[in-house]
Amino acid sequence: MSDAPAAQSPWQTVTITRIQKRTPRVTSFFLQPSRPFAYRAGQHVDVRLTAPDGYQARRSYSIASAPETGETIELAIEKLEDGEVSPFFHEIAAVGDDVELRGPLGGHFVWSDSDGGPLLLVGGGSGVVPLMSMVRHRAMRGSLVAAALVFSARVWDEVIFRDELIDLAERRDGFDLVLTLTREPARRPADYARRIDAAMMVQAMTRLPAPPKLAFVCGSNAFVTAAAEALIDAGVPAALIRTERYGV
């Protein structure tokens, strides 16, 4: 008999413990890992599904929950009509189901309170998910780092985590929220109703006490390209801008 531990697969079984619809197209899935793990705000996981004939599909999803939340991790998954994994989550997955997960992954698009700020976060659509983890991490740590989130969505009802973000901004503890809607009029006094541009970035930065030390941009490729160029035009050095892109 050997005392050597068996080699552990990097994959583990996670159980869906709660499902919460966030917007018409985005639903949060809360997963309890069989082997709980620590992670950093902004990291992602790989999820793997296996068919009876052994066929597997895997996709990467950003973690929406804060590292301080506990063992359960939240993935906020947008349903892609031509997708393979997201339709499974939206149409089939139920509380009590198991899927396989690997992670946490990624060591670049991450932020901790100890990294400091000011912090400028720019998200488009479900690109807000890893930024939400950072915003929640900041709040749960009682961080004093100044942060602003500029969040672009098509319409008010597609602003993922809307009520929670507005509540966090109303604490006035150094976190500010700027919403911009691309297909509806603005709802709040200081919000916008257009695509992100350099002027909007300049105005967002006036809400910070000093120029950003780090900027994180996440969304579709087209969104990230436009938002990163808007930041550069607004005077943010390219070396301070970290990007994460999805989709084609």
Partner: protein
């Protein structure tokens, strides 16, 4: 572990499947991934430097580099984010032809590919020579767009695509296998898609 309710409806036919490494899916588009903003490198400001450690061996400007012999390479490419794209058509200068123009044999067993944006990625030298890799200048017959790494990107199609550094401005021979940008941030030191070497601890 079989996932309840998940079926293999998207499983590709067997002949197609043989070209898709484990854990990958077939993508028709050409997704863009990068760690930062897209640099817009103008060809009049472009240069490519071959280095041995910190010491430059030879430097080419855009016109000089384009005067080297061009080779066509059509290959399947595999991104660590799990998409595979078939038959991507590139034209560029084989690393073999760059070395020949510099009049050298590879001085070390390891190489770092360097980008204008500060990106780096390590590749064993033997994975760059013998016709296996090129500095690509054209994609489907046209200049490579900035979001796909133009004016020039490395093409090492047999490794995960983060090894094919965008906005390439040099190759640096190193004495040791030095981890690059993603290799320092959790990704595999070699990155063979057929052995599914995605992350640091993968065998």
């Amino acid at each position: 572990m079989v996932t309840r309710g998940f079926s293999s409806g998207r499983k590709p036919p067997t002949d197609t499947n043989a070209r898709i490494p484990p854990g990958q899916y077939l993508e028709q588009g050409f997704p863009v991934l990068s760690a930062g903003p897209t640099p817009h490198v103008r060809t009049e400001h472009w240069s490519f430097t071959l280095k041995h450690g910190p010491r430059p061996i030879k430097k080419w400007n855009w016109a000089e580099f384009n005067a080297l012999s061009l080779t066509k390479m059509t290959r399947d490419i595999h991104c660590v984010t799990a998409w595979t794209k078939f038959d991507t058509a590139w034209q560029g200068v084989l690393v073999d032809d760059i070395l020949a123009d510099a009049g050298i044999e590879p001085p070390t067993a390891f190489t770092l590919a360097l980008g204008f944006d500060g990106y780096s990625t390590n590749v064993p030298t033997k994975d760059l020579t013998g016709g296996k890799a090129m500095v690509a200048l054209l994609y489907e017959g046209k200049p490579i767009t900035p979001d796909h790494g133009g004016p020039a990107r490395l093409l090492v199609p047999h490794l995960y695509f983060w090894k094919s550094a965008k906005w390439l401005n040099g190759l640096q021979f190193t004495e040791r296998d030095e981890p690059g940008f993603w290799e320092l941030r959790g990704y595999h030191i070699y990155g063979d898609p057929w052995r599914e070497q995605r992350y640091t601890n993968d065998l």
